[in-house]
Symmetry: C2
Subunit: 187 residues, 2 copies
Amino acid sequence: MNASNFDVDVGARLRELRVRHGLSQRALAKRAGVSNATVSMVEANRMSPSVSGLRQILSGIPLSLSEFFAEAKPTVEQVVFRASELKEIAGGRISFRQVGSNLEGRSLQMIHERYKPGAVSGKAMLSHQGEEAGLIIRGRMGLEVDGARYELNPGDAYFFDSRKPHAFKNIGDEDLELVSACTPPSF
Amino acid sequence: MNASNFDVDVGARLRELRVRHGLSQRALAKRAGVSNATVSMVEANRMSPSVSGLRQILSGIPLSLSEFFAEAKPTVEQVVFRASELKEIAGGRISFRQVGSNLEGRSLQMIHERYKPGAVSGKAMLSHQGEEAGLIIRGRMGLEVDGARYELNPGDAYFFDSRKPHAFKNIGDEDLELVSACTPPSF
DNA sequence: TTCATCCGTTCAATATAAAGAACATTCTTA
DNA sequence: TAAGAATGTTCTTTATATTGAACGGATGAA
């Protein structure tokens, strides 16, 4: 049994991509160097192509296997989130106010962060893979990533791999305010 | 043209994942309900499994096809980007200052945006799939997504699917300043 | 109409993936 | 030593993916 996710409907996905690119089964088959019968069979799920066969077919679009199997991103309903609507996901001396409350199925998370003077946060462990970026709006931040220390002022920014251990600290006298984003939002 | 990637070595990737999970070929085969011979052949690239066969094999780890074919993320060298180092990717009445200059291999892009009063930007066409988010620092923004119009003030934020047509405008008297992020950075 | 050309599907023949058993090798353990 | 159990590989048979050609339907032009 396949534990982790819903199965990709290979046939439907191929058809969707082919049509989106304005190709007929035959046109795609010719570009890819396979028979039109194969394209037809695969799209109808009447057979499961070999990986090399699928790669061959996709070369006619062209598209990588990675792109083919990438998770479909669900549509996000709400577009605008008022300042008062941002979801508080941390309290006290640190305020994390997230854009949108439901992370399910998203690949991007944005947070409006505020730290009181001296406040600290961070992760020591390797979390799931992904990337993190942020830009300082106000105040001074001390950043430690993978053992290296930095000081950031308004307008400065950071970018690193989420798997590296990291810590944030407000090292100034006033509140520290920044906007951060990370992907994927799973943590 | 498939700009983005090199082909996956299916055999090597499977072996890497199996070993990383501490499974022998036979143990994996048993959990997945396939023969050990198949696992051996696939790892040696002596045959290219069918998609359904590979899915079956991966179910023993377990791992989804999506995860199997996901691109390995390269490590990002530079962590901190000074305000003066942000890369200007648009000029004139609109200033887009990107965190980091090289997007290759990244899945996250962050931009410090500034619009003069009246300045407009946006995309009418469907661009590649992904998500976009932003948070207003200063000024007033008019946002149109998929035909719907919104007004945003400092602290407000937005989040939508990049494929929807969208436009940004500074509808205030002062400069509009915001931090945005999108994924994937391809555009 | 009739011809031409496109579309997607289906069929029989062939190439290849997958199973099950036997193989060689390297460890343990007696 | 030798026996036992683990590993990954290689064999032969069987199931299935893939081909090339033929099919039926739709569209458009003479």
